[in-house]
């Protein structure tokens, strides 16, 4: 394969339409006779619905229909979760699409209006009168499990949705340990906020009985699968389409009540219906992320050897179980709390807890940022405790190159790695020694900079289907690809993954171009349509390239194998004696004669003279099931300054060394890392969802919820090391989440490092000026650095 396309900074094919404003996002769809939907949402965190009066709304001009929860009870099934962790005693409580009896969080849907114009939605919603009987509510997971706390669901005593334990026996290690460090970390609730709000357009064909649903989803086939059951529509009569999707970050995985309701109404009324959430609505009802309280204990020796880690996590799951909600704080978190370190004993215990809050599900990284945060933070605490440089502690405990494949205490097999190499490259890039000297010199002047590290590993590229089954995910996690070479030699690729910003229309074309010797322009990648792609599992968990790309590579190989048989026939040589290079077939060792792939393709379709037993046409599909996850890793270093008088943290420098195996398109990989870092920095310094005592979300807009802006960030420096994964045909590892996973602890470690002279060892995120200032102020009162 000589063409240097794999590894090139090929400009994105999708950008051609996107920079011209010609993307097709769900809300862009206009259909003749289309109606608009709006959902009335509970203003109470917990209440009984006593009465709903829809009569005024129903009499308004332009109001076509109003549905309440009682109207729909029995017609629309409960919104299910799709992840049931084994041995977790999961309480799969009912989640009605519209509440008919009790509302359980601010935003819970109580009525659906269908109107003729977008502007009428608000008018109609305002005209509905609901009488509530407010009930006591609880939003904090630690409060929710106390005796006497308000109960959300009858079937879940003490509001405990799940209780799950895994790992080895750590007791002996802690008993005899010379050093034990304990810390409770609060990993605050975040709001994913992709810039495109969620939307759904549904159209029912009254003749064929087919329902088409355009939706902002990361996984249209999972949506079809779930919605077919919820709505009782035969799966072959349901088409789910995700055209351009404006980011997801996990929040567009879940099957929500909203898209189910809109689909129901479209079928019921026989007219197309559009629903688009407002940003305010997004804050309230689109799934949130994180929200953990983690009690962490680390046992170690005086000379920096970690002996054991023990974690007890309290994960807030919100009012109902979201599609992947139960899997995030268990499987995606608990199995990797030892991080990139060779720790002999480790255990995780997780409580998933119902509260009167928005359901919590995956948010970029999903479980792995939480695990990485606590291990990277506790390792720094340990280093401080034994008076060792955090770099040195890491060096002593990181899994060594020769230990791969490495089995962690939870039974995960880390595929490949060279963690020390990434660490060394990062340290060299920032000039760690010089930074430490500078830090010391500045401290003499009363100025505080901090250096923070995160030497992370991530499990991603979800994943082997057998493992999916073993961990209770109600689906397979293989991926499909179909490669079709058209008679003229142009190529269409169909993938079951569903990229929404990650650029696979380009990287997948690169994979095919490299293998077929066809130019990238002549290859189109089709995704996100259940009618065009038979089956697939979508885009999340950094799986698209590792798993979807794997399927694609296999499919291309099958196409080439068939083309080779035809080429051999055309060249009149045995098949084994045909070589394929840069789009041409040659007799072995003879470059004088050849036929092009294009000529072979034409013959495949003309079929005038095919070898015996070869069918006409030239396409192949593959269903690729990986044998393991992939484990990207790296070292991120953050350098911050802290203004001791104002508490303001400035990010001065950020260096990321990531290893995701061979890089198909460096430009796209860098972009993924940049965006991930910004989100992780957001958690460390700016973002945090808050509820007040009545369960009102007080951070319900971009005015109250601080999203990272350009001026908050420095230049982001990205570097790579390359350690291929042995587990997929391309050797690639996922890179969509590494930035988010690595950056939060790197930044917090840097801030705490800066605050060492004040004796501050931990602070709750986000590290806003008031938080930092208060801690400094308190330290000064008691005689810390002056």
């Amino acid at each position: 394969m000589s063409q240097a396309i794999f590894g090139e900074r090929v400009q994105r094919k999708e950008d051609v339409r996107l920079v011209r404003g010609r993307g097709q996002y769900t809300d862009d769809i206009q259909l003749p006779g289309m109606l608009y939907a709006g959902i009335l949402r509970s203003p109470h965190a917990h209440a009984r619905i006593k009465r709903i009066d829809t009569s005024a709304a129903e009499q308004m001009d332009g109001v076509v229909k109003v549905y309440t929860g009682r109207d729909l009870k029995g017609r629309i099934g409960s919104i299910p979760t799709a992840w049931i962790p084994p041995d977790s005693d999961l309480k799969a409580v009912e989640h009605p699409a519209l509440a008919y009896d009790t509302v359980r969080y601010v935003g819970d849907g109580v009525a659906l209006v269908i109107v003729t114009e977008r502007a009428l939605v608000e008018d109609a919603l305002e005209a509905i009168r609901v009488e509530y009987e407010p009930l006591p509510s609880v939003t904090d997971q630690m409060a929710a499990i106390q005796a006497g706390a308000p109960l959300l669901h009858e079937g879940a005593p003490s509001n405990i949705a799940l209780h799950w334990k895994v790992g080895t026996d750590t007791e002996a290690a802690f008993q005899g340990a010379p050093v034990v460090v304990r810390q409770t970390f609060r990993q605050q609730r975040l709001i994913p906020n992709p810039m495109e709000p969620r939307a759904t357009v549904a159209q029912y064909d009254t003749v064929t009985g087919e329902l088409t649903v355009w939706a902002t989803t990361q996984n249209p086939h999972i949506h079809r699968f779930l919605m077919a059951n919820i709505l009782g529509i035969p799966e072959h009569k349901l088409r789910v389409v995700a055209q351009d999707v404006g980011g997801g970050f996990g929040s567009k995985i879940a099957c929500y009540p909203d898209e189910v309701l809109v689909s129901y109404a479209a079928r019921d009324l026989g007219r197309p219906v559009k629903w688009t959430e407002s940003r305010s609505e997004h804050f309230l009802v689109t799934t949130h992320g994180r929200d953990h309280v983690d009690e962490v204990e680390l046992a170690g020796t005086q000379d920096g050897r970690i002996l054991a880690i023990r974690v007890r996590a309290y994960a807030n799951l919100g009012a109902y179980l979201s599609t992947a909600g139960p899997g995030v704080p268990t499987i995606l978190f608990g199995l990797i709390v030892n991080g990139a370190y060779d720790i002999p004993q480790a255990s995780s215990e997780v409580y998933g807890i119902f509260t009167n809050t928005t359901p919590v599900d995956a948010y970029r990284g999903a479980g792995r940022p939480e695990a990485t945060y606590l291990i990277e933070r506790i390792v720094d605490r340990y280093a401080q405790e034994i008076g060792m440089d955090p770099v040195e502690v890491r060096r002593r405990n990181l899994v060594k190159k020769e230990q791969f494949p490495f089995t962690n205490p939870f039974g995960l097999t880390y595929d490949s790695g060279n963690y020390h190499q990434a660490l060394d490259l990062a340290l060299k890039t920032v000039d760690y020694e010089a930074l430490r000297r500078e830090q010391e010199a500045l401290r003499q002047q009363g100025k505080y900079i901090g250096i923070g590290l995160s030497t992370y590993v991530e499990m991603c590229g979800l994943g082997p289907s057998q493992v999916a089954g073993a961990v209770g995910f109600q689906g397979g996690l293989w991926e499909s690809a179909l490669v079709r070479i058209h008679p003229t030699g142009k190529v269409t690729v169909f993938t079951g993954a569903s990229p929404h910003g990650q650029g696979e229309e380009t990287t997948f074309a690169q994979i095919v171009a490299e293998r077929l010797g066809v130019s990238v322009e002549d290859i189109d990648v089709v995704h996100g349509d259940t009618d065009r792609i038979s089956m697939g599992w979508g885009t999340y968990g950094s799986r698209t390239t590792a798993v979807g790309g794997g399927a694609l590579a296999l499919a291309v190989d099958r196409v080439v194998a068939k083309a080779k048989r035809i080429a051999a026939h055309m060249l009149e040589v045995p098949e084994e004696a045909v070589e394929f290079q840069s789009g041409r077939f040659y007799p072995e060792g003879n470059r004088d004669r050849s036929v092009s792939l294009q000529e072979v393709t034409l013959q495949a379709y003309l079929a005038w003279n095919l070898p015996a037993g070869v069918e006409p046409g030239l396409e192949a599909s593959a269903f690729y099931d990986p044998t393991n996850f992939t484990y990207p890793f790296g070292t991120h270093v953050a350098v911050v300054s802290v203004d001791a008088d104002t508490g303001e943290v400035r990010l001065l420098r950020y260096v990321a060394v990531d290893d995701c195996g061979p890089v198909i398109n460096p430009m796209i990989v860098e972009g993924q890392v940049h965006g991930g870092i910004a989100q992780g920095v957001g958690q460390a310094l700016y973002e945090g969802a808050r509820y007040d005592d009545d369960g009102q979300l007080v951070t319900g807009s971009f005015l109250d919820y601080a999203m990272p802006r350009a001026r908050f960030l420095p230049r982001l420096e990205t570097l790579n090391t390359v350690t291929p994964s042995p587990h997929n045909p391309l050797g690639v590892k996922g890179v969509g989440e590494t930035g988010t996973i690595a950056s939060t602890p790197a930044v917090v470690n840097a801030v705490i490092d800066a605050l060492t002279p004040f004796g501050i060892t931990d602070l709750p995120m986000p590290l806003t000026p008031p938080t930092v200032w208060s801690a400094i102020h308190a330290a000064r009162q008691t005689g810390g650095a002056s």
Binding site: Q11, R12, E14, D15, V16, L18, V19, R20, G21, R22, G23, Y25, D27, D28, Q30, G62, E117, R118, A119, L120, D123, N193, P194, M195, E196, P197, D244, V245, G246, G247, F249, S278, R279, S280, H500, G501, Q502, G503, M667, E670, G671, Q672, H674, G675, G676, I677, A678, Q679, S701, F702, L703, M707, P708, R709, A710, R711, L713, R715, L716, G739
Partner: protein, 174 residues
């Protein structure tokens, strides 16, 4: 309640358009729903995200903060009208070259803001660019490549001719 409609006329991407709109209709929705110019996106309801940014008489404004009736008699340029004679505007080219977009949702607004910046502040340094981007929220890129794209567009602009904002002036008077 539905309100009485008001007649407006404006020039959108160089083309005269007339319409009847409710006084409460926002320019963003007028462009999207009435004119089918769906390149202009709506990402929030508090005028924070900038996805809806267009040029109104040459100035970058958030079209969700402008009523359609306020645009009566104005020149509006949306992302669909950003290319000059079929040639991409330097910011469009630069965003492609520098990977200044991922999901593309903030991109129309990012492009319009950048076009204004590049045309009016061709010398803006990195700090000034980051400051100017304060009206834009991009969740995908970490802004790194948006900043690089703007710098690249500044360079491209120097090599080429007339700024876009110049073109948008004149025509219908207010």
């Amino acid at each position: 309640m539905a309100e009485e409609r008001v007649a407006i006329q404006l020039i959108v991407n160089g083309r005269a358009v007339r319409g009847q709109v409710e006084p409460r209709m926002l320019l963003a929705y007028y462009l999207r729903d009435e004119l089918g110019l769906t390149g202009t996106h709506v990402g929030c309801d508090t005028s924070q995200c900038g996805a809806c940014t267009v040029l109104l008489d040459g100035l970058a404004v958030k079209s969700c903060t402008v009523l359609a009736v306020q645009a009566d008699g104005c020149h509006v340029t949306t992302v669909e009208g950003l290319a000059e004679d079929g040639q991409p505007h330097p910011v469009q080219q630069a965003f492609q070259e520098e990977h200044g977009l991922q999901c593309g949702f903030c991109t129309p607004g990012a492009l319009m803001l950048s076009a204004w910046l590049v045309d009016h502040h061709p010398q803006a340094d990195e700090a000034a660019i980051r400051e100017a981007l304060d009206g834009l929220i991009c969740r995908c890129t970490g802004y790194e490549n948006i900043v690089r794209a703007i710098q690249r567009a500044q360079a491209l602009r120097q090599e080429t001719a007339e700024p876009l904002a110049g073109r948008a002036q004149g025509g219908v008077s207010r």
